[in-house]
């Protein structure tokens, strides 16, 4: 019951989506539309699970006086402030929620990711070596594309932009396509395994 019922639900809901593909405008399509609407609601509420989990973890750190408990307290205060302003004072442009997002959260996220520029440059310096023929090909292509894609590239050698275009549209597209087809075959077979109940790790244990 604890396993069979969920597997049956997965099979029925997935089967409905497949059937709906072949009958746009039919009764099956109407039922599937209702199911799609339901999915957006259930998945939306699932996102709140993550928020509850963060609250749980950091409350525990505060209760057990973990060495970083003060940071956890700051985290929970920020969470409460943002959520409180959002729920009670609205989320539209001009709200406190929106101000906190536009002026603190978004720039901080952008800053975190911008640090990757330093790490990628440092990694290129330390690890990008032409030790073998394949790694020499990789290195040469990277240099051509990096030069061909900057405004200065055309002043270094005027054919560089067109070389970069050719690399992107011929050998690179061929490989990307191979990967897309391979990954799509993998995703389709994984979906089938879920539908027929072979793959059930998402159900967890116990």
């Amino acid at each position: 019951m604890k396993y069979r019922l969920p597997i049956l639900v997965a099979f029925a809901s997935g089967g409905l989506m497949i059937l709906a593909f072949f009958g746009r405008g039919s009764a099956v399509d109407l039922v599937s539309n209702e199911a799609l609407r339901g999915q957006t609601i259930v998945a939306g509420l699932a996102l709140l699970l993550g928020v509850f989990s963060i609250v749980q973890v950091h409350s525990r750190r505060i209760a057990t006086r973990h060495p970083d408990w003060l940071y956890s307290l700051i985290l929970l205060l920020c969470l409460a402030a943002m959520a409180g302003f959002g729920v009670f004072a609205g989320i539209e442009a001009g709200s406190v929620y929106d101000w906190l997002f536009q002026n603190l959260q978004a720039p901080m996220m952008a800053t975190m990711f911008s640090m990757l520029a330093f790490f990628i440059a440092s990694a290129a310096y330390r690890a990008f070596r032409a030790r073998t023929v394949p790694s020499a090909i990789l290195l040469a292509t990277a240099v051509i594309v990096m030069l061909g894609r900057i405004p200065m590239g055309q002043y270094i050698y005027d054919a560089l932009p067109s070389w970069a275009n050719w690399i992107m549209m011929v050998p690179s597209v061929a490989v990307q396509r191979g990967i897309i087809i391979g990954a799509a075959l993998g995703a389709a077979s994984m979906s089938l395994r879920i539908l027929v109940g072979i793959e059930r790790t998402y159900l967890g244990r116990g």
Binding site: K2, Y71, M115
Partner: protein, 205 residues
């Protein structure tokens, strides 16, 4: 004095402070970075809460239920609430029903989507007339890449030759990808420096 307080320097000070606090990590881990990190995580989780409250609970559930009488949505709401059963050990298994509904539907959609939306169009666009070097390279490149990632047979003999050809193609593609990745990461840094210099300090153009 009031001009000073309404200046971009003061107005954008909180943003600039946290930007610099995060960059301090480049020197080494420090309390300022940790503070910024936790403020960021708290705001992010709070953002989700506010968004889901309005976008899902109010707009998708409460309004249609109370104003339009769409009682069928109560079933979706109930399935959504079942997710939280995982916090009560006795009935925790029931949250699997909601999960199975979302995962099962997604699997059904994905199955068709991958076959109809990706494999068919991508394969059909690879069936090119072999009348130019570029077309030959694309066809050979796609096949060699697929064979390189085919691990059910050892890569020996003709299969091995094609697979090693695939390595050549893959290296070209990964090199190109590296170039684009550098461009992407550098752009993010440029964005932050433009903020600090142009928007905040009002220097540079």
């Amino acid at each position: 004095m009031s001009e000073f307080f309404s200046s971009p320097f003061v107005a954008l000070f909180p943003t600039a402070f946290f930007t610099l606090a995060l960059y301090s990590f480049l020197y080494r881990d420090n309390p300022l970075f940790k503070l910024a990190e936790h403020v960021f995580a708290g705001l992010s989780a709070g953002y989700y809460f506010g968004l889901i409250f309005h976008s899902v609970i109010v707009q998708q559930l409460w309004l249609p239920l109370t104003q339009d009488g769409e009682w069928i949505l109560a079933a979706s709401g109930a399935l959504g609430l079942l997710l939280f059963a995982r916090f009560i050990p006795k009935v925790a298994w029931m949250s699997r029903l909601s999960l199975a509904f979302v995962i099962g539907s997604t699997a059904g959609i994905t199955f068709i989507q991958q076959l109809h939306g990706l494999i068919l169009p991508q394969v059909s666009r690879t069936l090119l007339p072999l009348d130019s070097v570029n077309n030959v390279l694309i066809v050979v490149g796609v096949l060699a890449t697929l064979i390189y990632f085919y691990f059910s047979k050892p890569h020996t003999g003709p299969l091995g030759w094609v697979a090693s050809g695939g390595v050549g193609f893959i290296m070209v593609a990964f090199g190109a990808h590296f170039g684009y990745t550098v461009m992407a990461r550098v752009s993010l840094l440029i964005g932050r420096i433009q903020f600090l210099l142009i928007d905040w300090l009002r220097i540079g153009s």
